[in-house]
Structures are given as structure tokens and as C-alpha cells.
Symmetry: C2
Subunit: 610 residues, 2 copies
């Protein structure tokens, strides 16, 4: 049943060698990895204007120079990440670069930040996608948490099917959004040039105003730079690309950055020219759309495109998170399960973990996840700063090709990102303090996991030089757990004799029915006169404690005689899975308890016809 | 950690022989088992009046004859259940009686109805208790579902601690409620006798009215009889009483019935005398309290007592459900886990199942569980009818003592209950139809479980007469699963040699790193030249399928040579439980897959220092 369902949702398993066919072309990669970055133009300009509005509408012309600075930062980040992709084509982006150049601890800060960030991305963008849906269909509003969870599960299922198939599905909303925004900016500029829309800016460029200050500027800039989250995703996902991987990834990044720059510049210019002021109920982007398209079909198509891109922006996280988790697990900082590829060659455990994390955030914040947005920015710009400053060290070490030029690019990127991080901490500490709580905890977890893996490997390693210590047992003692006398018991005793030199039957008896216990002993001894039968009494209703105590005693004796010890649990397997629920779970409990002892625990399976 | 928490919430384990000290005295039993029945006076009278009001206020005098009939039914049920307690002191009440006298199928209808009913009781009374809390503290209203779930978990924890301790805790609300209602009826009658409250009935007894009809009468009667739910609980819980069990249980039942009768009669009389008419925002009981006590402290204490008794009424279900489930499991109609006693000698699995069922109902109906109340009545009166008519057959068979008198009592009970069931089906089919859906499903489950247990017992039984078929193996083959070459592998191979005449090492290799796979083979063969090493190739990333196929092949060979087959999985146990999450779960998956084969599956445990 479960298996059939899994096939239906996820598809049939792929062979390991099918790997190549699951790889991404540039177009599909753009659909899969750019939705987060592109969707942020839906709120980037608005965040700048809202910050500036604190100084009155006269300050709004500042959106142009600030947008210019954001574009400069975008250019620096893009060029820098192109260089990172070529220098570190194994994926892992900021984590790898930082770890390599600033040491492992700094790398973990970058990696941990991004893991948290992708989870936030999924929760926040799914929540805003849901909001778009419930604005259109208000009847669904009471179910918004359920819808958000449903969307997350849908994205999870898509990604478990494999990157290529989810790219196919996501191409439509991404390209639809790109087409609608291009159309809007084009029509807007055409209208301006042809004079159909008159100049309406709230204040001309250069107007001076009293409250102009560096704090205002930095606050608006740092708000606007949240549009740049998602740009790094491609650098984490390089291994998913078609060969030549690095070249394709770098090209996709450039295309995405150009689109993003065009969108951001166009939208900010129209917003300035139209004199848009943020309003509670209508977004800035929506206002621009309304002025450009009027109240017709095109406007509603534009609204639909915005809703769709927000809903699928979550998918960027689904592509980047599992790859990053894979890199951290490979370096032994996260559990090994993140290394396993699923039936469809995607890192299923990373995908499922991300979905669960995002669902938890949606449940905790009951869908009102907007308060998490500023955490985004810090979670992205810390890794940006670390990786780009790391690249400085990279060039100083490598010193090849146009390294001076490349280093300058990285220097500008690192400088602007660093200033942004500092101003975020100074100006928005009220909302970003949780970052300082979550990160140390995450670092602690990474280190404890790492320590454990390293210690285990040390302890278990068989050295090439040293003589492996071998042990030759003189015989084997088998303790068989007897709860009653059935064909299962008989079969298990026969089996025990085939592997054991000495077989002991252990029975745990309770106070409830002494006569029955005595009868069993008599019957067993009559049937198996050559097997030692030991009846252990328990005052409680648990069989584990007295059984473990008895096993310890037997182990001591066996050690003296140089015997190995096997505990044999007779068990029967019903024909149908559901029937397992009908039988006592005692044997599983005993198995778990005995795992703490230096013995082998064996289960003898008897298969029922019923 | 988990163990410590369990101790804290549930208490330290009790010895099986401590059983006696956990038994109930009459007073504690009253607190534990009467809250459901007593709390129903909070709505019983109201339900009668509301039904009558359809014919106008002139019909309200009918509440007196209807209350008389309800009291007659109560007397019949009480006497009848006293007889049941004495005749079937093993508990199980309606289930046992019906199964004994009408056959197993009818018994299951009675038992199944009550199981569903207790779950409904818990959900509904916890929801109304929560409503009482949130009426007092409206700030908590958004959290009402959480509060209801919290209350259910609290009752669950109390009951897991054992019946005696939960009785201690519940004595206060039950006796507080009894005291407040006695005070109210006493003061009400005193005021009437002393003329301080004037006769205010909406219509005098005997007033005729146009819409008087048998349908109206039956509708009001069947609504009012829902006050009698919970009366049967004591007969299910006889084994929990102190010796002499039957006598104590019967006495407790009589005391409870007398209190209930006094309350019901008193409240209905006051309601008639005061001329109370149901109002949307204030309950009938609350109105009576207000007239009697005025708007003082006593009135608020009375309100508090009502809220508390409703909240703890759920506890009746927690006492009766596990005992009933035990009886059904003993007869092999429910899973054996319901037979297990927990650390504190209560049937923990029954308690936990009931809590989960009730939580599910609360979540599904989001706390508005009032719509479930009519289902109550049918779920209680079907077993009433079955068990009391069953008692008729009992007396016809036994014919001892005053059997004619006793039979008359049961006849009256069966007759009134039967008429009630018929009128419920005729008059309230719109709300009780789910009963006709749930019961056949439940019956089907009971039968499938029973069939399975009977078949398994038949299949496994070692007959007393027949010669037990024994098998003498000529040797043993051990297949050891090798994933790498560590100290765990070395230890496992040494162990395998101690139990096996032939040891085969099986390794599953993947496409991802062929060189590494070859190296492992070379190293292994060098280290263990006497062990056959087999490398199986998998095109997918699963080790289970190729491993199972190989095991099947080995089994065939072993059978030919009359060898037993053991599959050995080397495994290491980290020092701390959480570390298990860091290691691959492959061995568990393989273990489960091999359970379908006729082999013994053994785990060799290596214990890490880290």
C-alpha cells in the first residue's frame, strides 16, 4: 500500500547511472533557482520607499541613488559568485569558500546561516503565496495554514521526484512572471516617452530635505538589499547542472542577475516617475501595475503572475538546502543521512527536513511570517561578507590570471556586504537578535556531531600497519527466550542447537498465574530434556529488567569459558503487516534493552500462513 | 531523560502484588465513576424543556410526568445493573451479559457501542469544561482547543498514575458539586415552603394544549434520558473495587442512583415552580441557581462547581474504557496490548488509546462537540436494552431465589430502554445515522482480529497427543553483511565463526566508487582468507533488494545441505541515545526486509566508548 503510494507520488526508482539525465539545462535551472531572487522585486522597491517615508515624501527621490547602490552590490555579488562557481565547482558556495579561506568555524557560520535562511525562505514565501491565494478567494481564509502546509508538501513531493521534473513544472510561473514584468516596464517606458503618462514624482532629484542623514540612507539601503537574497542559491547547486557544470552555472547566474537588475531598475524608476507612495492595502508593485495597465485583464494577469512567483519562490530553498546539507554532512558536521540519495536521485532527507522545518515555522507563526523577513537579510549577508572576503585571500594565494581585477571585484562586494551587516546590527537589532541565539546553538550541534564522527572513526579504524586483534572462541552459548510452548518455540530450539554448543532456555514468570508457569516448565523439560530451563521471577510486569540481569550473569560465565553469547528471541511473522499490531511488542523492547550488552541478539522468524 | 520524565509524571513502578492497595473504597469509587452521571443533571432538565417548548410554554408542565418516567427508568436500570454486578462480577457489564445471553455478536454490539460512547463522553465533557473555563476567562478563548487537549492529557496522566491516586484528586470537584446542588435544592424548597418564592409556573399541571401528542412526549423523554448516560460505568469497573467487590460496587451504584434521582427530581421541580424558560445565553441550571441564590458568592461558587464537574466527567470514561477494552482483548476481539498492565497497574494502553481518540474528536470538531450529544444516547441505550433483555434469559435459565421479581425488574428496564431506542431511531435519525456507519466497521474489525488470533493459535499449538516434529540440522551457515572493514567487522567475523560451520561475507556495491569497492574486497580477503567474500552489485541505491535476493540463494543451498541460516548484521552502539540518529539506518531496513525470509537475523553489537 505505502509502497504503491510512494511510487505514485515520487515515481519509480532511477538507476544510479541515470544521474546525467536528471541534470539541469540553463533554462530549467533558471526556472528552478531564480524564483526566490526574482520574486523579491515584488517587495524590494517598496521596502526602500517605506524606509524613506519616515523623512516625508520629499525624501522619496533618494530611491534612485539607493537603487543604484543596490545594483552595484548586485553586480559585485554576481561577479563574485561567478568567480566562486569557477573556483569551487563542487557546490556548497559560501560554505566551501569560507571554510577554505577563513577556516572551518567561519565556514560553519556561513553554512548554518544559509540553512536557516532557506528554511525561512520556504516558510515566508509559501505564506505570502497563500496570502495571494486567499486574497483572490476569501472563502479559503480560515484554511490558510492548511493551504500553506499543502503547498510545502506539494513542493516536497515535486523535489522528491527529482530536480528535472520539478523544473519542468516550475518553468511556467517563472517565465510567466518574467514576461509580465518585461511587458509592464516596456509599456511604462513607452507611455512616458510618448508623453501619455506625465511626470508626477513627489520630489525632484536633488531636492534637499532637513532630515537627510546617513542613518536614513543606510536603513533604506539595508531594507532594499533584501531583494538580493536568493542570488547565492545557484552557487550551492552547481553539481545539479549539465556539463560543463561551472560554465553553465555561471552563465545562468549572469542571466538571472541581468533580469533582476533590469526589473529592479525599471520598477524603481517607474515608482519614482509615477510618484508612488506605499499604501496599507495595495502593494507598490500593484500600484505601478495599475497605473501602467489600467484596470483591465492585463492588470489581473500581472497580479496572478506575482502571486504565482511568490508561491514558487520557496522552491529555490528546496534546491539549495539539500545540496548544502550534503556538503556539511560530507564534512561530518551533519548526520550521514543527508548523504543518501533517494529513489529518484535527489537528496530526499534534506528535502524532507526542509519541509518539516518550514511547516514548523508556519505552524508556530500561524502563517504571519512577515516578521521573519529582516532575519533573512542578516542570514544572507553574513555568508556574502564571509565568502567574498574569503575570495580576497583566495586571490592573494593563487595570484594567477587577472587576479588583481578579480580581487577588486571581490573587495567591493565584501566591503558593501560588510557595511550592510554592520548597519543591520546597529539599526535593526530589535528584529535580528534571534540570529545571535540560533547560530551559537547550531554551531554547538555541528561541533558535537563532528566530534562524535571523528571519535567513532578513530575508535573503529583498523590500522594498515598494526596487526588486527583477532579472537578465537572455544564455543558458543545460546540463551533462548521462552514465553510459551508453541511450534515457534520448537523451531527456535532446533535452530539454537545448530548454532550453539550450549543452549539455555530462559522464561520470565509473573505473580499473576503461578500454576500456568509451573505447567510450562514441566512441559518444556519433558519436550527438551537436553536444554537447561531457567525460570526467572519478576515482581513487576516488565520482562526486560530480569532478563537483562540474567543475560549479564550468563555472559560472565561464558567469558570464563571463552564462549560467545547469543540471545535468541523466537518470533512469528503474520502474513499481513497490520497484524503485527496484534502481537505483543515485548520482543522488540527486549531487543532494544539487550543492545546495551556485549552480546549478539538474534531473532528466529517463524512465518505464519495467517 | 525520557525515563526520568515518565517517573515524574506517572510515578515509580508498583509491584504486581501491590494490586490490593490500588483498589477503590466506596467513597473514592463514587468520586471516580459518578462524575459523568451526576454532571448530566447540568443539562438533563434543560433538554426536556427545550423539546417541550416546540409546543409552546403551555406544554412545560409535562416536564413533571416525563421526569417521573426518567426516574422510573433510572430505578429500573439501577436495580438491573445491581443484579448484573452480582451475576457477572468480572466487569465488562453490558458486554459480558449480552455476550453470555444473546451470543457473541450481540455482545460485541454492546461492547463496541460503549467503547465509542466513552470516547464521545471524554471529548464532549472536556469541551464543555473548557467552555466553562473560557466563559470565566474570555482571554483564553483563542486557545480553547489547546486547553481541551491539555485537560485530556492531564486526565490521561492521572489515570496512568493509577485509579486510587486519580480518585484522590477527583474527590474535591465531585463532592463540591454534590454539596452545592444539595444546598441549592434545600434552599429552593425552604424558600417555597416559607413562601419567599411565589408559584410562577408557565402552566398548571393538567392544562391541556392543542399540540399535545405522543411524538412530542417521546421526543422530550428521549432527550431527557440522556441524563442517564454514565450509569452503567460502575458495572464495567467492578474489578477495581475493594473486596467484597460485587457488594461494594452494587452499594456505590445505589448511592449514586439515589443522589442522581434526588438531583434530577429537585432540579426539575424547581424549574417547573420557578417557570424557567430556556434562554440562549444562560443555561436552565444557571437560571435556577440565580433565582435560588441571588447574585451573590453562593451563585458563583455554584457556577464554579458546575464547571468543575463537567471537566472531570470525562474521567468516568478513563475508568470504564480500559476495563472494557481489557475484556474485549481477553476474548481476542481487540489487540493483546490492551491486556498489559502498566508500571502503575493501570491498563495504560487503554488509557492512552482513549485519550488519543478523544483528542482526535476535539481536533476534528474544533471543540464544538455538542453535535455529538444525541449519539451518546443511542450508544448507551442500545447496550442497556441488550443487557437487560439478556438478563431476562439469564433468570429464565437460572430460576433461583426471587427470580420472578428480579426478572420483572429487568423486563421493565428492557421495555423502557427498547422503546427509547426505537423512538431515537424514528425521531432523531438525522443526528444518529453515523451510529449505523461506525458500528458495522467496528464489528468488522473485531471479527478480523478474532479470526486472526484463533487461526494463529491453531497454527502454532503443539498438540498434547501428536509427536512434536523436530528437526536436527547438520550444520549452520552464517552470512555476514560487510559494508567496510573496521573493528566492528572484525569482531563480527570472529563471532560468526563461533556459531557457524560456514561463514560467507556479503558486500553490496554501488556504481558511485568502483575503485573503493575493489580495495575493500582485496583488503578483506587478505585479512580473512578463510571467509568466502561475495560482492553483489546494485544499480540502485538500495542494499535491501540485492541482499534479499542473495540470501534466498544461500538459503536454497543451505537447505540442500541441511544447514540452518543466520544473517549477521554488524552494528555499533554509541554511548548516548541521540547519537544513533547520526548513523545509517540501513541495517534496520535490511533487518525488516529479511524478516520475510525463513532465516534467523542476528545483530552483533559493538559498544563504542564515544
Amino acid at each position: 500500500m505505502w509502497r504503491y503510494l510512494k511510487r505514485l507520488v515520487i515515481g519509480k526508482p532511477l538507476k544510479t547511472l541515470d544521474e546525467g539525465s536528471q541534470k539541469l539545462s540553463r533554462g530549467k535551472a533558471l526556472a528552478l533557482l531564480s524564483s526566490d531572487a526574482l520574486s523579491s522585486v515584488a517587495y524590494g522597491t517598496e521596502q526602500i520607499i517605506t524606509a524613506l517615508l519616515m523623512a516625508g515624501t520629499v525624501a522619496l527621490w533618494w530611491q534612485l541613488p539607493i537603487a543604484g547602490l543596490v545594483l552595484l552590490l548586485l553586480a559585485a555579488i554576481t561577479l563574485s559568485y561567478r568567480q566562486i562557481i569557477h573556483a569551487y565547482p563542487g557546490g556548497g558556495g559560501a560554505y566551501r569558500v569560507t571554510a577554505k579561506n577563513w577556516g572551518q568555524k567561519a565556514g560553519l557560520v556561513a553554512g548554518g546561516s544559509l540553512l536557516v535562511d532557506y528554511t525561512l525562505t520556504v516558510a515566508v514565501s509559501v505564506a505570502s503565496g497563500t496570502e495571494a491565494i486567499t486574497s483572490a478567494l476569501p472563502g479559503l481564509r480560515p484554511y490558510s495554514v492548511l493551504i500553506a502546509i499543502g503547498l510545502i508538501l506539494l513542493l516536497m513531493a515535486l523535489n522528491l521526484r527529482g530536480v528535472r521534473e520539478s523544473a519542468g513544472f516550475l518553468t511556467i510561473p517563472v517565465f510567466f512572471f518574467i514576461a509580465m514584468v518585461v511587458l509592464m516596464i516596456g509599456m511604462g517606458l513607452y507611455n512616458i516617452v510618448t508623453g501619455q503618462v506625465t511626470y508626477n514624482a513627489t520630489a525632484a532629484v536633488g531636492t534637499s530635505f532637513g532630515s537627510a542623514s546617513i542613518v536614513l540612507f543606510m536603513r533604506a539601503f539595508s531594507s532594499g538589499s533584501s531583494s538580493l537574497t536568493g542570488v547565492e542559491a545557484i552557487s550551492n547547486a552547481v553539481p545539479n547542472f549539465k556539463e560543463p557544470k561551472a560554465k553553465n552555472a555561471a552563465a545562468t547566474l549572469s542571466i538571472m542577475a541581468l533580469i533582476l537588475a533590469f526589473f529592479f531598475a525599471g520598477i524603481t524608476f517607474l515608482s519614482y516617475w509615477y510618484g508612488i507612495v506605499p499604501r496599507e492595502e495595495v502593494t507598490v508593485l500593484s500600484q505601478i501595475g495599475m497605473v501602467t495597465f489600467g484596470h483591465g485583464v492585463l492588470f489581473y494577469l500581472f497580479q496572478l503572475a506575482t502571486a504565482l512567483i511568490l508561491a514558487v519562490a520557496a522552491n529555490t530553498g528546496f534546491s539549495a538546502f539539500p545540496q548544502l546539507a550534503y556538503n556539511l554532512a560530507k564534512d561530518k558536521y551533519m548526520p550521514h543521512i543527508y548523504l543518501d540519495k533517494g529513489d529518484r536521485l535527489s537528496y530526499s532527507n534534506g528535502i524532507v527536513s526542509l519541509a518539516l522545518g518550514a511547516i514548523a515555522l508556519v505552524l508556530i507563526f500561524q502563517g504571519s511570517t512577515e516578521q521573519l523577513i529582516p532575519l533573512y537579510a542578516i542570514g544572507v549577508f553574513v555568508p556574502f561578507t564571509l565568502s567574498q572576503s574569503g575570495m580576497l585571500r583566495h586571490w592573494l594565494r593563487e595570484r594567477e590570471g587577472h587576479w588583481r581585477l578579480k580581487m577588486t571585484v571581490n573587495f567591493i562586494g565584501a566591503l558593501i556586504s560588510g557595511i550592510l551587516v554592520i548597519s543591520l546590527f546597529l539599526l535593526r537589532f530589535d528584529v535580528i537578535w534571534p540570529y545571535l541565539v540560533v547560530m551559537p546553538v547550531l554551531m554547538g550541534i555541528f561541533w558535537r556531531i563532528h566530534l562524535h564522527y571523528v571519535n567513532v572513526a578513530d575508535e573503529l579504524r583498523v590500522m594498515a600497519k598494526e596487526r588486527v586483534e583477532r579472537h578465537r572462541y572455544s564455543g558458543s552459548t545460546v540463551v533462548i527466550l521462552v514465553s510459551n510452548l508453541t511450534k515457534v518455540t520448537v523451531g527456535a530450539v532446533d535452530y539454537a542447537k545448530s548454532i550453539g554448543d550450549q543452549v539455555i532456555a530462559m522464561h520470565v514468570s509473573f505473580d499473576s498465574n503461578p500454576q500456568k508457569e509451573r505447567d510450562l516448565g514441566v512441559k518444556f523439560k519433558k519436550e527438551f530434556p537436553d536444554v537447561r530451563y531457567v525460570d526467572i521471577h519478576s515482581s513487576y510486569r516488565s520482562i526486560t529488567e530480569p532478563a537483562v540481569r540474567f543475560v549479564d550473569e550468563i555472559s560472565k560465565n561464558a567469558k570464563e569459558r571463552n564462549h560467545s553469547v547469543t540471545i535468541l528471541i523466537p518470533s512469528f511473522v503474520p502474513r499481513h503487516g497490520w497484524q503485527n499490531a496484534l502481537h505483543n511488542q515485548n520482543s522488540m523492547r527486549l531487543h532494544n534493552a539487550l543492545a546495551s550488552r556485549d552480546v549478539a541478539v538474534s531473532i528466529y522468524y517463524y512465518h505464519l500462513k495467517h
